[in-house]
Symmetry: C2
Subunit: 425 residues, 2 copies
């Protein structure tokens, strides 16, 4: 075992939030409290962007109750950012940023750095790890996985994914019941748009709503399968003739055979001359309604799906929390330059553990639904997908409430005193 | 007390479903089981439309477990319709329908008729009551209130309303946390569209998400207040400058001073030459994004909000169930031609009971948010509204689950043998 490295801890969040990214932070905080070598626990506000501005908060000032409540609080409690230290795009700015980042890290004696996020965030964590080695500064940098998109490689799945598909599948069941109960002789169609620009993991997850063959969702349009308008219309008609209505789920990133996004309406430009993103569901409704003379309605869940902590998966919360604790354990044991990953040990009963993957293996790899997890005709994921996804949505929360609504954490965010001059942009 | 009227019971549902309209049916069924004078319990499939086709099911064939599960099952378990027996629009068809309806009623010895629905459904119930009197046919017809829109007169509120605002307010909290946590120096805007074409009750209910003055939602656009684009843009800018982001809730029926719906895009016609309903949120985003150079995203909950049984209000479920039991009790006691209404006895502690309102008083009256329940500047409902709405969202469900998702009722729907020739349209 390595010599204990004594110093302070910095945890931050990055990228689009999820229902459980705060649970990972709670895991980090909780585990940090168990190790004497970790002195102060700081949070970086708005990810690396805020750290560059030396915007740190003292997490030890937060009540234990608030830290516990983080497990059930959606969005990024520390704030998030899309800022990236990008050596390819702007090497000069990136070098400036990296220097500034290490000024902040050294000024606050940060020896443990944890960054929860997706692809870009893992890349940032890796840069911190590498730069520290170059500088001979002893730090342990570990990435904590996060993304509703489930598109990180090497991990069985990502924290955040189980909750988004639990909520979305529930919504599809409920909307499906609604639409079915209104089905008149004329039939009807409802198109539900969910997130997922590159991969169809989120859309695919709604197949869990299906108990019997004719249950909604009847069609799931995945970005992995090129959209064919004629085939789609024929399939909708077929479903309506059989079931009286057709519930379609579409991933926002649906593309045709030429790779054009269906939701981008090129005939309509905004004030900047960019095509208006009408949204895939609205665009499909414009196709279905006149072609089949079918009443068609749309639902666009947008941010609601990734923030739906009120119906998060307890399994997902547990896994997210454990990814945070595993990150701290690995760092205390002397590891750096890794991402925590989830490792599946068995499907049924579902058993999992965590592992470590070198951050070098992560960058800019995306992972897609295997073709043989999708039915031959391409309209729905199959039982292989279900075996994979079903365990991830298990477990109901016991969510504290206030005034009839979920009681989410409110951090006090006591600022750590700044030690450096303001950042020059 | 009137002589007990012995015969069969028919219950049906009509109009847009809610999260708790099945709880009202469960209340009817449960109470009916307590009265010897009620022999068979039939459900009419797809409301009056199905009854005209003699599509009845035998509810006594359903398991008690299924009937209990109805309390937590969204949508209309018996099916619903928008069909109306309309003497004004088509008196000939209406007379034909009414004759057919009574053929069905008499063929099946229906003596108790309960119809759960909104304005139109109460009108239908009233017609059944009046026609029976004219014919000297002894029947007890009672309306059960339902509508997420909360636009029925005389009742304090409608079953279905508490659940839709609980879910929507939770969604606004969650999306608000998400948007706030991503707030960069440039600010951002998120526009959430909710139902409510004529009245703003549903949109107004999301104010319950607000705990502190700067919490989302920052602006609620109500159909009751004429939309003024310039003032709106100024207000969004003001909020972004203060809070870093602006979360707007808009009722789908938002109108300008001339009464034009904001969501109707007249520049774009569908295949039938009708203006495409782009949706109020998308239309507002088209206004905000270029005018304020502000990243703007939209959420359109659509049917998801009225079907969200997984986060229904227990108070609402209880009230809906009790409206069903009260309808049966009134009928057994000899009443007919009434709608059950909810009567508020006190705000805090919240106490309520049911009453009866003559159906003659209901038809085609709508009820709007009083102007003095809205802030002077028109951007948000005030504390009078909160006092009214807060009790309606109280209480968490204990929802049974299956495979990680809500376990909803599945009725067997055993058909009652038909006794009449098929309906002539």
């Amino acid at each position: 075992m390595a010599e204990p490295l004594v110093g302070n801890l910095l945890v931050a969040q990055s990228g689009g939030p999820t229902a459980v990214i705060n649970a990972s932070v709670a895991g980090v905080i909780n585990e940090a409290g168990r190790h004497e070598c970790i002195e102060e626990i700081y949070g970086g506000l708005n990810g690396v962007y805020g750290i560059l501005h030396e915007n740190l908060i003292d997490i030890n000032e937060e009540s234990n109750k608030s830290v516990q409540a983080l497990k059930h609080t959606p969005a990024a409690a520390l704030g998030t950012c899309r800022y990236k230290i990008n050596f390819k795009k702007d090497p000069e700015q990136a070098e400036k940023d990296m220097n500034r980042l290490f000024e902040v890290i050294e000024a606050h004696n940060i020896r443990y750095f944890f960054y929860a996020g997706g692809n870009d965030s893992q890349d940032t964590t890796n840069k911190v790890h590498q730069e520290a080695a170059k500088r001979g500064y002893d730090i342990r940098a570990i990435g904590v996985p996060k993304t509703i998109d489930n598109d990180l490689p090497h991990t069985d799945h990502t924290p955040g994914y189980g909750s988004v598909i639990k909520y979305n599948a529930t919504t599809v069941m409920e909307v499906g019941a609604d639409v079915s109960s209104m089905a008149t002789d004329d039939g009807s169609c409802c198109i539900i748009e969910v997130m997922g620009r590159a991969a169809g993991w989120i859309a695919a997850g709604t197949m869990l709503a299906k108990e019997q063959p004719n249950d909604p969702p009847h069609i799931i349009l995945l970005p992995e399968i090129a959209f064919d308008e004629a085939k789609f219309l024929a399939r909708v008609k077929e479903v309506v003739d059989t079931c009286g209505c057709c519930v379609v789920v579409v991933g926002e990133g649906l593309k045709d055979a030429e790779g054009n996004e269906i939701g981008a309406d090129k005939s309509k430009l905004d004030a900047f001359g960019h095509p208006v993103l009408a949204g895939a569901a609205d665009r499909l409704a414009e196709i279905v309604e006149p072609a089949l003379n079918l009443k068609t309605r749309t639902v666009k869940l947008g941010y609601a799906q990734r923030a739906a902590a009120h119906y998060a998966s307890q399994t997902d919360v547990d896994e997210a929390f454990t990814c945070g604790t595993a990150a701290v354990q690995a760092a205390v044991q002397g590891q750096s330059g890794y991402m925590v990953k989830l490792v599946r040990e068995s499907d049924e009963p579902y058993r999992w553990t965590t592992g470590l993957q070198p951050l070098d293996d992560i960058a800019n790899l995306e992972h897609f639904i295997p073709r043989d997890w999708i039915s031959e005709d391409g309209w729905l994921p199959n039982e292989k997908f279900e075996t994979y996804a079903r365990p991830l949505i298990q477990g109901e929360l016991h969510l504290p409430t206030k005034g009839g609504l979920p009681a989410f954490a409110r951090l006090k965010k006591i600022a750590v005193e700044k030690k450096l001059p303001a950042r020059e942009a």
